[in-house]
Symmetry: C2
Subunit: 118 residues, 2 copies
């Protein structure tokens, strides 16, 4: 699968290659992957990484939207680092696709992960 | 094909649904489609829309990277408006995938289309 490691020295990545990019937690342990991104149509800002954790954590849902501000790109790893914990994912505000239009859900989710709104 | 019109009232769009989003020129005429986006891995900013013009304009190449700043989302149309012309596309700085690491190409391209660097 294509990933951010394809062009490790490039600052830019194709939206097609984002899928499968690794996300690392404490101790450089892989905790999950980026499934896709959510992008603001107007500003062109990435707002959320929708992550999958299959096989890594015992999480009930298959996809979790994580605020972009909770991820930091690490060129050495060719992926993203995050400080979010399994407990935070478990306790995150309930999500369904309808929530993409819900500013209240967005505010609560950013507060939950302790990062500023985009 | 999925497109930005799937959730016309949502401000956010999935990176998976960006492909096929229409781009309109003067007089609300469709001139092309977004094939994929280029995203800054660090900042999470969309930097270019790589557009396809198959069948619309007599352009030699299949894909043209257009600076994000040259597109403006129009909720009424469910797509993007642009003021760029066929002549500008013809005369744009030469492009190959290597250019994604070339800051000089990026500067010339933004100057060519008359928009500020991201």
């Amino acid at each position: 699968m294509a990933s951010a490691t394809q062009h490790p020295n490039h600052q830019l990545i194709s939206s097609e290659d984002v899928e499968g990019t690794n996300v690392f937690g404490a101790g450089d342990t892989k905790v999950g992957e980026i499934d896709h991104l959510m992008i603001d149509k107007f500003s062109g800002k990435v707002t959320y990484a929708v992550m999958s954790f299959g096989g890594f954590l015992g999480l009930g849902h298959s996809h979790y939207p994580v605020p972009w501000a909770a991820l930091k790109y690490d060129p050495t790893l060719g992926g993203y680092r995050t400080g979010i914990t399994e407990q935070q994912l478990h306790d995150a505000p309930e999500f369904s696709d309808d929530e993409w239009g819900d500013r209240n859900w967005e505010t609560r989710t950013h507060q939950h992960y302790g990062v500023p709104m985009y």
